[in-house]
């Protein structure tokens, strides 16, 4: 166990940025909007989180700024996809370009700087628990906040009125509209909040995980999060499992190398991706066609009141 423990600790740590992005995207997609621009939004989050921590003198200011910047980008996406009904796939890809470029341009002057960032903080009593204490409760507050967020979202989506409304907007906007729900408003709200969470995932990279800014530092994690949403079947708890699994397998192969394994490294590097497919296959084969049922039925399809006959 002593040798395996660090892998689990690392899995949670390196899964956390992916988890935030995945949770954000789940919220957005559940409301019926698909946002493929996660990579660009994460990069903007990483940059603004770093810059604001530097100027504001506190990592919390940085995280708040990242959320705000992400929310603004979400607003752009919402305007294009909800109000103008643009193609959401292209819009997301454009966002990836825009976010990557804008963060790079604005980030020029921050190259080579560091910030104190957010340090880890063990939760007093429960971090002493065997195994679980080390893995889950000796991390940093952003990790703890992500735990809370997972359960909060589970509760919110399935047990509260606004959560039901959110799902209605994503599953059957026509019916939701007939019930008098402001579908467009709901979609706006959760695209904005979702993008804010995605940006937090990026800020985790530059404020907590590493404490510097480098161009393109999310290195494809936004795309992994896009896959994780579906992997999790839009379920926040499963998103956590997926993110940790992904992070864990990647760490595992690095640690296999450290332990002197003789597998050619490129093949080892395939592991996280292969595992994702295999686990998804396992889930899908077990559940059959239920998987498609948990996808928001109106995902990616614009909705206009006037279309109601």
């Amino acid at each position: 166990m002593e040798t395996l423990l660090p892998i689990f600790v690392a899995a949670v740590r390196s899964g956390t940025p992916i988890l935030y992005a995945t949770l954000g995207e789940i919220l957005t997609e559940k409301a019926g909007v698909m946002n493929l621009g996660l990579e660009g939004i994460m990069l903007m989050g990483a940059l603004s989180g770093f810059a604001a921590s530097l100027w504001g003198g506190s990592p919390l200011i940085g995280l708040a700024a990242a959320f705000a910047v992400g929310a603004c980008l979400g607003l752009i996406h919402a305007f294009l996809s909800v109000t103008l009904g643009s193609n959401q796939v292209v819009c997301g890809l454009a966002m990836t370009m825009f976010g990557g470029g804008a963060s790079a341009l604005a980030g020029r002057s921050y190259i080579g700087m560091t910030i104190p960032g957010l340090d880890s903080w063990s939760i007093p009593v429960i971090s002493k628990l065997p195994v679980i204490g080390r893995i889950f409760f000796s991390q940093d507050i952003m990790v703890y906040a992500s735990f809370a967020l997972v359960f909060l979202m589970m509760f919110f989506l399935h047990r509260t009125r606004p959560g039901m409304n959110l799902r209605a907007a994503g599953d059957n906007p026509k019916a939701a509209d007939a019930m008098g729900l402001p579908v467009a408003g709901i979609r706006y709200l959760y695209t904005v909040i979702g993008a804010g969470l995605v940006a937090l995932g990026g800020a985790y990279m530059s404020v907590v995980y590493n404490k510097f800014w480098a161009e393109g530092m999310t290195a494809g994690r936004g795309w992994i999060a896009v896959a994780m949403v579906i992997f999790a079947i839009w379920n926040p708890l499963q998103a956590a499992l997926g993110a940790y699994l992904f992070g864990g397998v990647e760490t595992f192969q690095l640690r296999l190398q450290a332990a002197g394994a003789r597998v050619p490294a490129p093949l080892l590097m395939m592991l996280p991706y292969l595992m994702t497919i295999l686990v998804l296959l396992f889930i899908s084969a077990g559940k059959g066609h239920k998987v498609s049922l948990s996808a928001p039925a109106a995902l990616g399809i614009p909705f206009y009141r006037e279309e109601r006959e």
Binding site: P6, A10, S14, P17, A104, G107, R108, I111, G112, M113, T114, M205, Y209, N210, K211, F212, A214, E215, G216, M217, T218, A219, R221, E250, T251, L254, R255, Q257, A258, A259, G260, R262, P264, A265, P266, M269
Partner: protein
């Protein structure tokens, strides 16, 4: 009969190549304001590592030659997409000199150079040359070796970790030079290698560093682009040796030193040669003597005797007394590859595909 034809051909060939050579040597001087050097970069300038250092060098060159107008193109893939980039630098900006900043441009530099014989190309880290194509690189293995001396002295456990990007000769050569340094000051120590298969992924770099620290390494060295390894080492209070640039800001107390680039020392003489009309195609491989590579200032943790030792060895490298890859050198299986008293040729050093004794890890086959 046939023989005499061959002789004539041979004489003709010698004459012809001499003729061609003399043309190359007698290239006309080009006014500084008309050189318009173009720099083709593999990464964004904001990577904070390889490309960042190249651009620092370019800025210094621009400052040193008033009137010089340089142009950069960032994030140019190592594929056919690099061809129009170089061509446009020549066609639109009238670049007389192109620096291609990464190995993967090799075939494409060759292709474009054939089409534009009046433009001079300097290809970083390649080996294909032509009348108008030269190659350039720095003997980074020299400061790597020196940093190995430091690591060997500082380590307590004898376990040193090395986070490495890709298994290409350049990286392998560095690991070997470093290990030779380590074993010189600490014969029993070993260097454990983790391959990232990525030049740039701060998250992965950090995890690799932590994996090495958890496996008992008390000094880390690295060959990747960001300061993530240094930062991980500082957090775990493990000594670290940076790369590319001085990484002490990422690890203020634990940073020992770093082998660093000074691209200005490589770019600047080339620009001068082109301006003077003295440029000729050659394989430039400059080291500490020319200042192309160096060691960053020592961190607070490096003891005085180590500083003295490194200073002495550095002087020997500059004077040519210490060639780093001098026998006896054994490979991982213990077989003697370089005998006592022999020194590896530049070509052999250039293409090293095996690890020296003391490296734990393998070159993917």
């Amino acid at each position: 009969m046939k023989k005499s034809v061959l002789h004539v051909l041979f004489v003709f060939f010698v004459f012809f190549s001499f003729f061609a050579f003399s043309i190359a040597v007698n290239a006309a001087p080009i006014p500084v304001a008309e050189i318009n050097p173009g720099y083709v970069y593999i990464g964004p300038v904001g990577d904070g590592g390889w490309t960042y250092m190249q651009d620092e060098g370019r800025r210094a060159v621009d400052a040193a030659f008033p009137g010089l107008k340089s142009t950069i193109v960032e994030s140019v893939g190592e594929g056919p997409e690099s061809v129009p980039v170089m061509e446009r630098l020549i066609r639109q900006n009238k670049s007389k000199l192109i620096f291609a900043g990464s190995f993967g441009y090799m075939d494409y530099v060759e292709e474009v150079a054939k089409k534009y014989p009046d433009t001079i190309f300097m290809h970083v880290s390649g080996y294909k040359r032509a009348d108008n194509v030269g190659t350039m690189f720095g003997r980074m293995y020299q400061p790597r070796y020196l940093s190995g001396l430091v690591a060997g002295k500082v380590t307590q456990s004898g376990n040193i970790g090395y986070v490495a990007a890709h298994p290409i000769p350049e990286v392998i050569r560095m690991i070997n030079a470093f290990t030779l340094g380590v074993r010189k000051t600490n014969p029993g120590a070993t260097v454990k290698v983790i391959w990232l298969f990525s030049w740039f992924d701060p998250g992965k770099e950090k995890e690799a560093a932590k994996a090495l620290i958890d496996s008992g390494c008390d000094v880390l060295a690295m060959h990747a682009d960001t300061g993530a390894v240094a930062q991980a080492a500082e957090e775990a209070k493990t000594y670290v040796i940076g790369y590319n640039n001085d990484m002490s800001q990422y690890a203020p107390t634990m940073h020992l030193t770093a082998p660093i680039w000074d691209w200005e020392k490589l770019f600047s003489p080339i620009v001068k040669q082109v301006a003077d009309g003295t440029w000729k195609s050659e394989a430039i491989w400059w080291g500490m003597k020319e200042g192309a590579v160096d060691l960053a200032p020592f961190g607070p943790a490096v003891p005085e005797d180590v500083r003295k030792l490194v200073a002495a060895e550095k002087a020997d490298i500059i004077s040519g007394k210490q060639a780093v890859f001098t026998g006896p050198i054994k490979d991982q299986s213990g077989t003697v590859k370089i005998k006592q008293g022999e020194t590896m040729s530049d070509d052999d050093i250039w293409s090293m595909g095996w690890f020296v004794e003391g490296v734990l890890g393998e070159v993917p086959k």
